[in-house]
């Protein structure tokens, strides 16, 4: 096993390699002269002037800081050290790609404009209208929180009923299966017309798209609970409600989380699509608005925010899942 361990030297090299690419990206941004004729605007914040290159460098610096912090935390754990060193070349290449993109997209303006702006131009969005971007991000976040909550509660709740009561299964599961094959956004015209507000229309659509995966997985989890567990629980004094809440639901938890993970992707899609087609705010709305003005750098900025935001949401869900399903750790699957 000794040869598989990551020595301190190798780990230090891993950190260096990781940040080297991003350091090069900053150096390139500073050192390579602006050849193409680009109007570089200055924005005043906190009593100082900033242009897009300044913000771009700060953001790359932040990325470096994040990777250094991750490196420090990985130092104490052998598995994490291995992972970190393994990912170093990719992260190095990421930095180089940023530098190349910067040169082609901003410095020399060789990429077709305005469709492929450089990285600095994209971050200019945050200098240009930070409050508006934040407002739309928060709108998306709020819509997501509402849609996710309603979707999960409705999906898990109905899934339990379908899994527990054969009568409910008989009457509801055909409807569930049909909604499973219809993309939720197809209901958009009805939702927008019939729902009292565009916000509730989007929540309805997200609930619809989450219903099939969450409810069917939950029902399956409830139905597959071993008879012996119900019997043992009964002999220990559990009543019917406890058989549901203290046997069937804990047993179904892995499937419930499987359903949520699957539905989550659908919900992101539905969220953005409904924002693009009829919400008064949100990142999808922002993309649509920016497209109309051909401000493609803002479209990219919104995409970057989505990538970060949705990654964070996925990480949070996965952390909760690990916590709830810790009993499965090491269980052969």
């Amino acid at each position: 096993m000794a040869n598989k361990e990551i020595s301190n030297l190798k780990f230090a090299l891993g950190i260096l390699l990781t940040i080297a690419g991003f350091v090069i990206a900053i150096i390139v941004n500073i050192a390579v002269p602006q050849v193409a004729d680009v109007n570089i605007k200055e924005y005043e914040y906190f009593g100082r002037l900033y242009n897009f290159n300044d913000l771009y460098r700060y953001i790359v610096l932040c990325i470096i800081a994040i990777f250094v912090v991750i490196g420090v935390f990985s130092y104490f754990d052998e598995d994490k050290r291995k992972k970190y060193v393994k990912k170093a070349p990719f992260r190095f290449a990421l930095g180089l790609a940023l530098a190349l993109w910067d040169v082609l997209g901003t410095k020399y303006l060789l990429l077709p404009q305005p469709f492929f702006p450089g990285p600095a131009a994209i971050v200019e969005t945050f200098l240009n209208e930070p409050a508006f971007v934040l407002e739309n991000t928060l709108y998306s976040l709020r819509l997501y929180a509402a849609g996710f909550t309603v979707g999960v509660i409705f999906g898990v709740g109905s899934g339990i009923l379908i899994g527990w009561f054969p009568k409910v299964y008989y009457w509801v599961s055909p409807i569930l299966k049909i909604t499973g094959v219809i993309p939720a956004v197809a209901w958009m015209p009805f939702a927008l017309t019939l729902a009292p507000t565009p916000f509730s229309a989007a929540v309805f659509l997200m609930t619809m798209c989450a219903w099939f995966p969450i409810a069917s997985f939950t029902a399956q989890g409830v139905q597959s609970t071993a008879k012996v567990h119900f019997e043992v629980a009964k002999t220990l004094g559990a009543n019917t409600a406890q058989l549901v809440f203290r046997v069937a639901i804990p047993h179904a938890m892995p499937q419930i989380f499987g359903g949520i993970a699957m539905a989550n992707g659908f919900m992101f899609t539905t969220l953005v699509m409904s924002e693009m087609m009829g919400q008064p705010g949100g990142l999808g709305y922002y993309i649509q608005l920016s497209r109309v003005w051909s401000a493609y750098y803002k479209v990219f900025a919104a995409i970057v925010i989505m990538a970060v935001l949705f990654s964070i949401i996925l990480a949070v869900i996965s952390a909760v899942q690990h916590r709830v399903l810790r009993w499965q750790k090491g269980l052969v699957k």
Binding site: V228, K234, T235, L236, A238, P250, L331
Partner: protein, 263 residues
């Protein structure tokens, strides 16, 4: 307070017939009648299909007979009740709960957990699993898991502990270890224990009385009293002679009927 009668369980004329989809019927139990005394350790032994598990499930309240009556302390058995603990062969522990919470399950569902929390630690001590409180069922051995299952049933302080081949899936060392544990627990709790097994040695080692059952239809063929004292020596003369006796009776019980014609 009226003194409790000596008989804790009374079974009279119980019949249980199963029928499948194509109207085949199997007489799992036919006219079973027996009494069990308070604090007694009785064993039901017989080949598979003799209805011993069915009988235990009826007593547990997980199944109902077509006819006959089952009385616990003179009252008919209706459904399950924590006063009848039930331990299955394997896989009975809840995989999503650790050892502590598996044992605490009965207290939790009955709303007694906050009051009697300390007893969980006591039972973990009794079964010798200190340090494994936070382990999940898949992280402990089969023998440990069965000890947890027994403790989980006993924490409800049942009048009857029903054991459905709880040691059937274990190796012989672990089995002997749990057998001793059972006798110890019985001494401590005074619970009446009913065991289903197909292991003759186990039956002799543990029981006060052994019910020998025969299949198709499930009937009680013989009742043997084991009266020599604990700890019983598995190689002792009385043990071996009783063992031979039971094996003979079991063989007789499962002997094929003679053909009615000869070639």
């Amino acid at each position: 307070m009226a003194e409790l009668s000596k008989t804790v369980l009374e079974i009279a004329g119980v019949n249980r017939i199963y029928s499948d989809d194509v109207n085949n019927t199997v007489e799992a139990l036919s006219d079973i009648s027996l009494d069990v005394e308070r604090g007694e350790f009785v064993t039901f032994i017989g080949s598979s299909g003799c209805g011993k598990t069915t009988l235990l499930r009826l007593i547990a309240g997980l199944d109902v007979p077509q006819s006959g009556k089952l009385l616990l302390d003179g009252k008919p058995i209706h459904g399950t009740n924590p006063n009848r603990g039930y331990v299955v062969q394997q896989g009975g522990l809840f995989p999503w709960l650790d050892v502590w919470h598996n044992i605490a399950y009965g207290l939790k569902v009955r709303g007694l957990y906050s009051k009697r929390k300390a007893e969980v630690a006591k039972y973990i001590n009794l079964i010798g699993l200190e340090g494994f409180e936070k382990s999940y069922p898949h992280q402990i051995s089969g023998g440990m898991a069965q000890r947890v299952a027994i403790a989980r049933a006993l924490i409800n302080e049942p009048e009857l502990l029903l054991l459905d081949e709880p040691m059937g899936a274990l190796d012989s060392f672990t089995r002997a270890d749990i057998q001793d544990k059972l006798l110890e627990l019985r001494k401590g709790s005074g619970a009446t224990m009913l065991l289903v097994t197909h292991d003759v040695d186990e039956a002799i080692y543990l029981s006060d009385r052994i019910f020998i059952m025969t299949p198709r239809p499930g009937k009680i063929k013989d009742i043997l009293t084991v009266d020599f004292p604990h700890p019983r020596h598995r190689g002792g003369a009385e043990f071996l002679s009783l063992r031979r006796d039971i094996l003979e009776r079991l063989e007789l019980a499962s002997a094929k009927p003679q053909p009615e014609y000869q070639i």
